[in-house]
């Protein structure tokens, strides 16, 4: 199923008056796609999910399922969640405590008045897909977090929904289980080929799971793209620092032209831009810019050839496989993620600036 949001806004009434939760949201989720809504808490991603589910009515805009309107306040159209045939996995799992596992998974089928024989078969199928076939008689209260999670997923997939909604489904699991369940969710989604909307604040989850990702902030969608696009070409400094293993370095720099070539000045250094990069930068801004450098792309070198910066090591954190090194340069503090041996604090090092993969932002896009 294709899910489209057109110019969706949702305001809540509170004591402080009308509070906008999301504004001007346009989304087009493709058939069978796993689409991730990523953003910090309070960015409106869960509101978008509830709007898709029909648990909330939009204040403005239109929502369509396969082109058919399901919510449009201006046209007074609203299809209730019951009629939308969407399934949701809640962060809290929301299992029915008075029913056993079988009763929980069978619940949507019973509500839909499916025949009892086929219910047994369908529940068994869903339970075996998730490896909980031996738990059918247990109560939710007797299950571990991971098991509850599986029951919640089984309940969601048992009736073959048009749209599958997941609200931070992994955030209540411990780290090891989270990674395993993540892989399994991906496999399950591929197998079922159900259009899926997945909400998370965890960029690793978004990167590993999503076919495409929408990055949200303050109720707006900042950027939509494949995980790779978001990583390689963040459109805002926020996107750069939110996505990636460590926040992007943001440094003030000046772009200027000299004898037909474009240069970048940061600190005391002057770095020449290649013709390709120069074209790209010219489209964004000249003069003062914000330069985004990924810590994992900056290299520490003993013998700094250009383009390079020199700096003093402030601290080095050992993260196990990698080390996060902070270096004070003339342009500000830069963090470097390296798997090489870390220098000691106080060492003077050279930094190789990856100018070809660097992001250049308009200075007003920073905060």
């Amino acid at each position: 199923m294709m899910l489209t949001f057109h110019d969706i806004g949702k305001t809540f009434l509170s004591e402080r008056g009308e509070v906008p939760a999301v504004q001007g949201v346009d989304l087009a989720v493709r058939e069978g796609e796993l689409f991730v809504l990523l953003g910090p808490s309070g960015c409106g991603k869960s509101t978008v999910l509830s709007l898709a589910a029909g648990l909330l009515k939009p204040s403005s805009g239109e929502i369509r399922f396969d082109g058919e309107l399901v919510a449009a306040p201006r046209k007074k159209v609203f299809v209730s969640p019951r009629e939308r045939n969407v399934a949701m996995v809640f962060q809290s799992y929301a299992l029915y405590p008075h029913l056993d596992v079988f009763g929980n998974i069978a619940f949507p089928l019973r509500v839909a008045k499916v025949k009892e024989e086929s219910i047994t078969a369908e529940v068994a199928r869903a339970a075996s897909m998730l490896g909980i076939g031996d738990l059918l008689r247990a109560r939710p209260g007797e299950l571990s977090g991971g098991q509850r999670q599986r029951v919640a997923i089984a309940r969601a997939i048992v009736r073959k929904p048009r749209l599958f909604l997941l609200d931070e489904p992994l955030s209540n699991l411990d780290a090891a289980l989270r990674a395993a369940t993540r892989a399994e969710l991906k496999r399950l989604q591929r197998e079922l080929a159900v259009t899926t909307l997945y909400v998370t604040h965890d960029q690793t989850e978004a990167m590993t799971l999503g076919d495409r990702v929408a990055l949200m902030r303050n109720g707006r969608v900042l950027q939509v793209g494949t995980p790779r696009e978001l990583y390689e070409t963040p459109r805002t400094p926020f996107a750069g620092s939110f996505i990636g293993p460590a926040p992007m370095n943001l440094l003030d720099a000046v772009v200027f032209e000299e004898k037909g070539r474009l240069y970048l000045r940061m600190g005391g250094e002057k770095i020449a831009l290649s013709p390709g990069k120069a074209d790209e930068v010219r489209r964004i801004a000249t003069g003062r810019v914000l330069l985004g450098l990924r810590p994992e792309h900056v290299r520490i070198s003993g013998d700094p050839g250009p383009p390079a910066l020199r700096g003093i090591v402030v601290s080095a954190e050992n993260l196990g496989r990698e080390r996060l090194v902070s270096v004070e340069t003339a342009g500000g503090i830069l963090t470097v993620l390296t798997d090489a041996e870390a220098p000691n604090a106080g060492d003077v090092v050279g930094l190789v600036i990856p100018i070809e993969t660097a992001s250049v932002f308009h200075p007003e896009d920073g905060e």
Binding site: A53, G54, L55, S80, P81, R82, V86, A87, M88, F90, Q91, S92, A94, Y96, P97, H98, F107, P108, V111, A112, R155
Partner: protein, 276 residues
């Protein structure tokens, strides 16, 4: 004496004093009921223990005591069931729907429940007379339901607000309408709370005196409290022994009910006390 021990002793003494204070009238009631003379505590009175008063209360046809017990149980039971049946959907609406002025509504309901019954009773009498319902179950069940409904609504709303919202969201997404979500998810999950609410409503109705006094005229609908108050001895004296025996017997259904659902009632009371 260690700190812990001292606290334990104080606690025990305090609890004992409190229980004694509350239970003394009850003890007196049982004592008088089981004694041959009501002046059992006066000096020099010659008193035997006897079951006579109990047998008399149950056995004397003209007292109609067993009928009063049946009336009380039927009237209180129906009122409790109605209060919960009407209160549960209202509590669902108040806690789950986006209604403007929900809190004002709740407080209005509370305010209504604070009218002194005495201010309503004369009008109720005229209304029930006009309807020809005096001395019927309906004459008591309807006012009782109206009277315990605000309390039931508040307690049920407090129970419902403790149920995670995701549960009924899940029910809505699983294909339920609002009513089905209430029936298939909210009510079963809140069952202990609903049960204790019903028991509280039952006890309130069971103890009610004024409406029952005014709205009943005979054994067809008269309830225990009124029945006992109107006991008369053969020669016009106050039959203390029988009154106390009847009062003791009247406590039995309530005690049985509370014992059976003790756990639920305690949580129900505390939950109703604090609106979370």
């Amino acid at each position: 004496m260690s700190e812990e021990r001292r606290i334990r002793v104080l606690y025990t003494v305090g609890a004992a004093a409190m229980s004694a204070f509350c239970l003394l009238p009850v003890a007196y009631m049982v004592l008088v009921a089981a004694s041959s003379r009501p002046d059992v505590l006066s000096a020099g009175a010659e008193v035997r223990l006897t079951a006579g008063h109990f047998l008399e209360v149950l056995g004397t046809g003209s007292l109609h005591f067993p009928e009063y017990v049946v009336n009380s149980i039927v009237v209180s039971g129906l009122s409790a069931i109605l209060a919960v049946a009407l209160g549960a959907p209202a509590a669902y609406a108040v806690t789950r729907l986006e209604l403007p002025g929900r809190m004002s509504f709740l407080f209005l309901v509370l305010a209504v429940s604070m009218f002194p019954p005495v201010s309503l009773v004369s009008y109720l009498f005229r209304m029930m007379s006009a309807l020809g319902w005096i001395n019927t179950y309906a004459a008591l069940v309807l006012p009782y339901t109206a009277w315990v409904l605000p309390l039931s609504l508040w307690i049920l709303a407090s129970h419902f607000s403790r149920i995670p919202r995701d549960l009924d969201r899940a029910a809505l997404l699983d294909g339920c309408g609002r009513l089905a979500a209430l029936r298939k998810v909210m009510v079963p999950v809140a069952a202990p709370g609903i049960l204790s609410t019903a028991i509280l409503a039952f006890i309130f109705a069971f103890n009610e005196f004024l409406f029952a006094l005014i709205l009943t005229t005979g054994r067809n609908a008269r309830t225990i409290p009124v029945g006992i108050a109107l006991f008369e001895g053969l020669h016009g004296e106050i039959p203390w022994g029988m009154i106390m025996a009847a009062a003791t017997l009247a406590v039995v259904p309530v005690i049985l009910l509370v014992l059976a659902f003790q756990r639920g009632i305690v949580t129900g009371l505390t939950r109703g006390a604090v609106k979370e």
